[in-house]
Amino acid sequence: MQLNREQLLAAWRMMGTIRAFEDRVHAEFAAGGIPGFVHLYAGEEASAVGVCMNLDHRDKIASTHRGHGHCIAKGCDVPGMMAEIFGRASGLCGGKGGSMHIADLEKGMMGANGIVGGGPPLICGAALTAKTLKTGGVAVAFIGDGASNQGTTMESYNLAKAWMLPAIFVIEDNGYAESTASNWSVSGSQIKRAEGFGIPAVQVDGIDFFAIHDAAAEAVERARGGGGPSLIHVKLNRYHGHFEGDAQTYRAPGEIERLRRERDPLAHFRRRVTEAGLLEASQLDAIEAEVATAIETAVAAAKSAPMPPPPNLLTDVYVSY
């Protein structure tokens, strides 16, 4: 599918925002300002953006513990996300969720999820809502290679097909479920698994924004047209550990440096659009600078925002009483 200049600039801005956001969270976590568990998406940006650029306000996504990229790609407020990660009252969830539970239902973002395999059944429900209320919407589950082995994921394939739901399963296979390699933990193939359920499936290269975008466009079209679920197996890489603080001794020496050098989705995008004469390098640079400023502002705002007041501990549960 041919994207126009504006769309390409938007894709670049979004991928750049995710990268800058994650690299900054990495640094802030190391500096000690961020509590709890954080799982970063840097290196995987083309997947979230390539998929979500095909979605609109009718559509829902469910994410994973590695959810910042999906949130940004689905339009969540970036300063609100940063404040949430810092545990502040101004966070998207009022500081009650944190990195692993950022959600914005109004944006169709059904939450990052602390449970591996938590999302697939939920998007079957979101897809059922769309089908029942005839909204024309679709629902997408982002699934790690680890979650692809959970029973919930395979139950969801079966249910989505049995109910012919407008559901899309995107397996983001970054090669490692925590520290365990997916080439060991995943028996058989993701594609054949899906095909076993009668679900059309395709594998794409996770550094190639365009390939992901096109695969998602086809899946979204199928879903909106009543053709039922699809699966996209994205082979990609993560630059940071499973969680921040993970020493990653399970990775090969020099592996991450090589990936950054040879398999970077942003570098790939830049090369493609400049070589084809679609965008100027100066345009990309200008957006990068704007993004850096925006992230700087978001971090400063988050750090100076107040913590939630203690009475908030007891709100948002049984609010009807």
Binding site: K60, A62, G91, L92, C93, G94, G95, K96, G97, H101, A103, D104, L105, E106, M110, G111, N113, G114, I115, G118, P120, P121, L122, I123, C124, G125, A126, L128, T129, A130, T132, L133, A139, G151, T152, E155, S156, N158, L159, A162, W163, T315, D316, V317, Y318, V319, S320, Y321
Partner: protein, 334 residues
């Protein structure tokens, strides 16, 4: 007023709410039954026939049979609730919660709080519970204490057909996830049930007997036994107040404390296991809040802390009885 069974009462509540609100859908294994089979449609009408007739009226788009896939469809019901439907999911036996508990306590229960109050999850999970059916260890448990333990869930345990209808209507209209416990030995119990829809608020106990001597708190089918015991004791001059909390989350602690303040004696009857169960919970509440009112130690009447046995001889020995409640009341009166 018409007499209706517990089963009819729930069916009527579901039917009336589905007529009222097109967002209400029903899903579960065999809630209609017969899907894709050569024989009858609506073949089962749900486990124990509770949802019979709903599919013919509302169609398969709103009465959804599922594969046997509890994590999948309970999760889907929760996801649908978070995005605009008001699903009622039928989990058949509460014992099967083991297969899909994550979706309930890590997803549904947490959304509203964890997302800073920006999500509602109006899902009702109906489920059968309780012993007496000779259904053995994996089809007879109570388990509502597990759900009561989880903030964010509402837990409803009707003890009569009248309550079942009113509480089911409230459950469907509620914006929080509700686990609705139906005792399998109560389905044929008859009660006066109004034809028109009515909602019974959660967190309001029902006093099924009133008396000054002893407070008896009971849940579900145990309310019947507590009433029988109270009636027998009344003939001997001992007056009991029987309190049915109806919901354990939220729970009407005020009614319990007020009554114990008057009687000074408490017997708690629960069909769930004694350790970390509702009986222990109510006993702890009274120990903390009404200790000085007590004239005797609190007594708990529960099954022993063992799985539910199969053999009728053993199951009958397992379950609390009206006689054991009478004995416990006499114990606190002594």
């Amino acid at each position: 007023m018409a007499k209706k069974s517990f089963r009819q009462a729930i069916n009527e509540a579901l039917t009336q709410e589905m007529r009222r609100d097109p967002r209400v859908v029903l899903m579960g294994e065999d809630v209609a039954g017969g899907l894709g089979s050569p024989g009858e449609d609506d073949a089962w009408g749900g486990p124990m026939g509770v949802t019979k007739g709903l599919m013919p009226e509302f169609g398969r788009e709103r009465v959804l049979d599922t594969p046997i896939t509890e994590s999948g469809f309970i999760g889907a019901a929760i996801g649908a609730a978070a995005t605009g439907l008001r699903p009622v999911a039928d989990l058949m036996f509460v014992d099967f919660m083991g297969v899909c508990f994550d979706q309930i306590f890590n997803q549904a229960a947490k959304f509203r709080y964890m997302f800073g109050g920006k999500a509602v999850t109006p899902v009702v999970i109906r489920t059968m519970f309780g012993a007496g059916f000779r259904a053995a260890s994996q089809h007879s448990q109570c388990l509502y204490p597990l759900f009561t333990h989880i903030p964010g869930l509402k837990v409803v345990i009707p003890s009569s057909a009248y309550d079942a209808k009113g509480l089911m209507i409230q459950a469907i209209r509620d914006d929080d996830p509700v686990i609705f416990f139906e005792h399998k030995m109560l389905y044929d119990d008859m009660d006066e049930v109004p034809d028109e829809p009515y909602a019974i608020p959660f967190g309001e106990a029902n006093l099924t007997r009133e008396g000054d001597d002893v407070t008896v708190v009971a849940l579900g089918r145990m309310v019947k036994l507590a009433n029988e015991a109270a009636d027998a004791l009344r003939r001997d001059g001992v007056a009991c107040t029987v309190i049915d909390p109806r919901t354990t989350s939220p729970m009407d602690t005020d009614s319990i404390l007020e009554s114990v303040g008057e009687t000074g004696r408490l017997v708690v009857v629960d069909e769930a296991h004694p350790r970390c169960g509702m009986a222990a919970d109510v006993a702890a509440l009274v120990a903390q809040e009404a200790f000085r009112a007590l004239k005797a130690p609190v007594r708990m009447v529960t099954p022993p802390h063992v799985p539910v046995p199969f053999s009728p001889a053993l199951e009958d020995a397992y379950l609390p009885t009206a006689a054991r409640i009478v004995e416990a009341v006499r114990g606190v009166m002594a």
